[in-house]
């Protein structure tokens, strides 16, 4: 058989039916559900008198609206509370493989809890009404975000209507420098190809620098594939993948484990497989990244400066840069390290796993939040991450540094709960989107790695983490 890419293997093993124009029905193995994009789907299902096709494919949690402090008070915002209670009621009525409701010890961000519970397994198709579902591709899955109509479609039919994507391989070879993380790699990729660079593609990440990453790092990279326009990002299965999954709650056990692992080892692109497009980066060229604008592609290195719109030739782009600088309150040519921050957010499905918290804690240890920084939020991705961090004493480091140690959830990644920026406030954030108003109306977001966020927190401005030995 001809050499196949990982995407082709995953695609062809899930096609149920194909229309003449190539639109296919793809079978869905895992359906992750959260409170924001599901209520209209459950309602639609009910109105049409339909039942979910396979309840055991559903894993649900409440994450977007939940508060990250004073859990004993419940959810104070009545509209948020109604949405979370609607999910409670829907799952109670319909059923699921697992539900981690508000205040459950395993509750957390949907893209953190799937993998850590072994509910995301190699070879699966994974969907969720959330664009960052691309995260799960780190496990050699075909994982993508869907809209609410598709959530309803998957519930009712266990399938998704899809057309096959083109394939794009992003190879990162070499060794990442000290202080350079997966977040910097993916921001550098987006800076290179742009936020629409991956549109229409299924994106695979390969090369020795990707292979050397932990599962946490691979998830960070796949998480932001959508920020490069690709609906799915993925990494082939290797021993790192398999080691991570061993003994997770929903991972197979006994004989089934051996059978599964034998199959999973085939889930990588074959030698010589052809991709429609190839992008190559050298790991050594990647430095710590900081975004300066209102789109993740508006990014530079910590050694860089805010761009000058006068130097941009294309008029649509120039206007985009001007508008972004105005919104961000930045002057052209300002050195990145001169930019001071008001808040720091360490969390989100991009960077809230144990390894991220360890990286932030390593910088925070023995240091203090700078006086000009109003607040530093550290929000673990899940109850399990929180517990692990506390067992390692990371929370004590954060608290000693003057950071706030919070309960898990999406928090200030999108500010649907009470955690948000005030108008005009500037934030170093480990999340994935720096859109206007994303972290609160009028708020200004700079995307960075957890280590860089912690460095900004203790120095009060962006600082090259490599100099904070």
């Amino acid at each position: 058989m001809a050499a196949q890419t990982l995407y082709e293997k995953l695609w062809s093993s899930h096609v149920v039916h194909e229309e003449a124009d190539g639109t296919a029905l793809i079978y869905i193995d895992r359906h992750l559900v959260h409170e924001v994009t599901s209520p209209q789907a459950f309602e639609g299902l009910k109105l049409a008198g339909r039942k979910p096709w396979r309840i055991s494919s559903i894993v649900a949690t409440a994450d977007h609206n939940t508060p990250t402090d004073h859990w004993e008070r419940g959810i104070l915002d009545p509209v948020s509370r109604q949405q979370v209670e609607t999910l409670d009621a829907n799952i109670r009525e319909v059923g699921s493989l697992a539900y981690f409701p508000f205040r459950d010890e395993r509750q957390g961000i949907v893209h953190v809890i799937g993998p850590e519970n072994g509910a995301t397994l190699p070879g699966m198709t994974v969907v969720c009404g959330d664009s960052h579902t691309s995260t799960h591709g780190a496990f050699g899955c075909l994982a993508h975000g869907i809209g609410t109509s598709e959530v309803e479609h998957v519930m009712a039919t266990q399938c998704l209507l899809q057309k096959k994507s083109k394939t794009l391989l992003i190879r990162v070879d070499g060794q990442l420098g000290k202080g350079v993380t997966a977040k910097d790699v993916v921001l550098a990729i987006i800076g290179r190809i742009g936020t629409a660079g991956g549109t229409g593609y299924a994106m695979e990440f390969g090369g020795s620098a990707i292979r050397a990453l932990s599962m946490e790092g691979r998830m960070t990279i796949c998480n932001m594939a959508i920020e490069a326009g690709a609906r799915a990002g993925m990494v082939g299965v290797d021993e790192t993948t398999i080691d991570y999954l061993k003994d997770r709650p929903f991972s197979p056990t006994g004989e089934a484990w051996g059978q599964a692992v034998a199959y999973w080892r085939t889930l990588k692109s074959d030698e010589g497989a052809q991709f429609d497009k190839l992008i190559e980066l050298k790991a050594e060229d990647i430095l710590p990244q900081v975004t300066w604008g209102t789109s993740p592609e508006m990014v530079t290195t910590v050694e860089g400066r805010v761009p000058d719109p006068a130097a941009v030739a294309d008029p649509v782009r120039r206007e985009g840069v001007e508008r972004a600088l105005k919104y961000m309150g930045l002057e052209p040519n300002t050195p990145i390290t001169d930019i001071e921050v008001d808040q720091v957010f360490i969390g989100s499905c991009t960077n809230s796993r144990i390894e991220d918290l360890r990286e932030a804690a390593a910088v925070a240890k023995g240091r203090q939040k700078a006086a000009n920084v109003r607040r530093v939020l550290v929000v673990p991705g899940s109850g399990l991450v929180k517990r692990q961090a506390e067992e390692e004493g990371l929370h004590e480091i954060f608290v000693a540094a003057g950071f706030e140690w919070r309960e898990p959830g999406c928090s200030m990644c999108l500010a649907m709960n009470a955690d948000r920026l005030e108008p005009g406030e500037r934030c170093a954030s480990t999340s994935n989107r720096n859109f206007e108003g994303r972290q609160g109306a009028g708020g200004r977001t700079h995307l960075v790695s957890p280590a860089m966020a912690a460095a900004a927190a203790v120095t009060g401005h962006f600082t090259d983490v490599r100099q904070l030995a």
């Binding site: 039916h17 079978y27 924001v36 309602e43 809209g147 109509s149 089934a256 059978q259 989107r433």
Partner: protein, 212 residues
């Protein structure tokens, strides 16, 4: 779903690239558990001078006079002209719900983000990709002519300008069929229920560990 066949509609230009779904409908409105009523909050942060909250009386809020859709000449627009990568960002279907509820039925631009593109079709909203040069010309004509209208004919796959020029556009045959007829995807898919069941049975036998 509402079928889409032919439309003769007023055009409004939104001359920005990378219009993201957070801009189309800010997150505070995502707390609603309904599918309708998002129109008054479409482009909320650009459209109003204050910060919008769910459940507010939007008719009393101060409008931003600098936002293009607030201009008198574009009131009642059903066709939105946009730039590259419209609808990037989150998968929230609230974005097409808001645009549809606002009154748009057609979006024209050089490119759209994948998930948004897909979500639009599910809601009777027709996104059309055209060459950059064609889009540039439409922007030019639209801004120069008050009351600028386009005729969009889905069956013929054409957009006809006031000067009589017809521009062809591409669309997947399957999507076109669904939109023309207003078909419900789920009903269509369930015609293949036997095939899905067969597939599932085989998969369960081959990979039992996915069904624990």
């Amino acid at each position: 779903m509402k079928p889409f066949t032919k439309l003769d509609g007023l055009v409004a230009p939104l001359d920005r690239a990378n219009v993201d779904t957070d801009a189309i409908i800010p997150k505070q409105f995502l707390k609603s558990i309904k599918r309708s009523g998002f129109g008054p909050n479409a482009f909320d942060e650009w459209r109003y001078l204050d910060v919008g909250q769910p459940g507010q009386d939007n008719s009393k809020r101060p409008l931003n006079p600098d936002f293009v859709l607030n201009q008198q000449r574009y009131q009642g627009a059903q066709v939105l002209l946009t730039r590259d990568n419209f609808g990037c960002g989150s998968s929230r279907e609230h974005a097409p719900w808001a645009l549809e509820d606002y009154g748009f039925r057609v979006l024209i631009g050089p490119s759209f983000a994948d998930i948004f593109f897909n979500n639009s079709f599910k809601n009777g909203l027709l996104p059309i990709r055209l060459d950059v040069a064609e889009v540039d010309e439409l922007f030019r004509q639209c801004e120069a002519t008050e009351g600028y209208r386009l005729i969009v004919d889905l069956a013929a796959q054409t957009i006809t300008r006031p000067d009589g020029k017809a521009i062809g556009f591409d669309i997947d045959p399957f999507r076109k069929e669904c939109l023309l007829n207003g078909w419900d995807d789920i009903g269509l898919t369930l015609r293949h229920a036997d095939k899905i069941r067969d597939f599932e049975q085989k998969r369960r036998a081959q990979h039992p560990y996915y069904y624990a």
